[in-house]
Amino acid sequence: MRKSTVSLRAGLVAAAAFSLCAAAPASAQQKVKIGFITTLSGPQGVIGNDMRQSVEMALDHLGRKIGGLDVEIIYGDDQVKPDVGKQVAEEMLKKHQVNFVSGIIWSNVMLAVAPTVTGAGTFMIGTNAGPNQLAGDQCNELFFTTSWQNDQTPEAMGKYMQDAGLQDVYVMAPNYAAGKDMVTGFKRYFKGKIVDEVYTRLGQTDYQAELSQLRSKNPKAVFVFLPGGMGIQFLKQYSEAGLRGQFPLYSVYTVDELSIPAVKHAALGQLETRYWSQDLKNEANVKFVGDYKKKHGRPPSFYGAQSYDGMMLIDSAVRAVKGNLSDKKGMTAAMRKADFKSTRGKFTYNNNHFPIQNFYLLKTVAGAAPGSDPVMEIQKAVFTNHKDSYGKDCKMKW
């Protein structure tokens, strides 16, 4: 017994020491190192997986080179925890010495990671989370995002429903920061009558009680924000309760290419607003969506499109400074030009490094081939060149 435990401990110590030495400092060769942080474990790993596959596709399209230099991509798992995300970021910065950190799905993780990265003088290229603090007074020269500011998407839905003259809207979101932000953004443009504003428990699975309340209020329309598993559950139950035909359902971040396979026809007719859609017709998107469908058997989600663009943005910056990775000011200037073929088409950056872009109304319609999953398609543009509402709080001017 004694012998085996001593050798076990010795083995562990040796392994630890070996891994300490084995991680060599950055090699002398010119290489671009990118750290990509997302969620790869747990149920939300679905999103992270889509992002990773899109990043890989982008790198393949670029011939595994960023700005002409060889690229090394390191993926990290934040486990949906801000402190783990921060630790992963620090590992990428200090151990792997990456030139760019990218990714991040969740706002609270982004708020912990972004200052760490920019504080270390490294670029943070966000590809999903868009908390208003980073769009306002915490904006930074080294922080860019290829997604959107959180409020913009519900603002677009609010505008659409306002223009459509809808009244008596029933609003529902989970009771946490993002949920409240979505409703705030919605109400910024929707000025009609709201019959009830309901906040559900985060992670709630059963919505029967809320659905009964909803029916009793008899609204003319329903607006919800229920991301991830919550959306899948709500949609199934909404459909099962027979409310689909009764009350038109509008949402943001509730139905997307990742959740449709789980709900199928329960999503038909669903209206959402988004800055991008898989059927958007521009050169980059047609190539991206086409190749993605061929390789993975289904269209990519917007998380993927944003991550793809993130790689393209980095590529354009490195190309502009001709591979001189220490010219951070030059890369900032290049990124500000947004001079790359984005999957959303041409766009420009606001002073806070958030995109100024169009927002569209999407509808979930039946798939082309019989028996295939429904797809989301653009119906019309709601906003053209829409700016976020926090740019004025950002002190950067250029």
Partner: protein, 319 residues
Amino acid sequence: MITTRNWILVAILLLLGAVPAAAAYFEQPFYLDLLRRVMIFAIAAVSLNLILGYGGMVSFGHAAYLGIGGYAVGILAHHGIHSGWLQWGLAIGASALVALAIGAISVRTSGIYFIMITLAFTQMLYYLGISIEEYGGDDGMRVPVRSQFSGLVDLNDGTQFYFLVLGILAASLFLVHRLVNSRFGMVLQAIRSNEARTRAIGFSPYPYRLATFVISGAMCGLAGALLVNHTAYLTPEFMNWTRSGELMFMVILGGIATSAGPLLGAAVLLLLEDVLQGWSLLPREAVRDHWQLYLGIFLVLVVLFARRGLAGLLPGKNE
């Protein structure tokens, strides 16, 4: 009394003390941060071991004190008060008060009921934290300025912060060691062993349990203050029941009612997570994405074959 086990523990602490120099020599500053995080959770695990291991009170709500300590620092910093003395003092004091309140009710129960009631309280605090918008709600709050100690220690210096944490860890281990081996500690362990008999000799369990609960909560509150300084970020998620579960696992994995247990448990659990995700010996995808599978297998194997936890594997007599 210095046993073999205690010498090993001292040796581990000395090894930890050598890390900053080693990290600088090998140019791997990341490991300083990683081990600092491990030590902070070790302090929390030491505090939990006091009530769980020695006191026999299985608290599923211990992460609440990490949160309270953290919020004490965060809220004061938010309002412009950066004095470490005030912040950490409040962290310890508030945690002790809350532990007193929760303990007064919970300590009367035992067994599964104690587990559930501590769980209930922590969930309530968690939902409370989510709904308070002023301090970030669910998004959490950045704490960009670290606690200041009027020039004595600069927390912005990674090495100084590291040694401060190491010092607090050593102090906690020493405090628990003295407490457990004192008359007070003897009664506590007797209560855990056989409550009826302890009562029969004239000791009332309630005040002993409550006092231990409060001390444990206060110590964990200090760990919370350290954690917030380390991550420079604060979120109610620190108080989630799954975090409490992680603390419990560290203590049980390490070996309950042992001196080295909490530190070993925290180190192995957190380092294993890091190692499994970065292991370059196996194809990345297979290991990294499903690292929880290997962690699960590891936990089951430890329970089945290492009956007294990891500390039980160390040479020396079982305490």
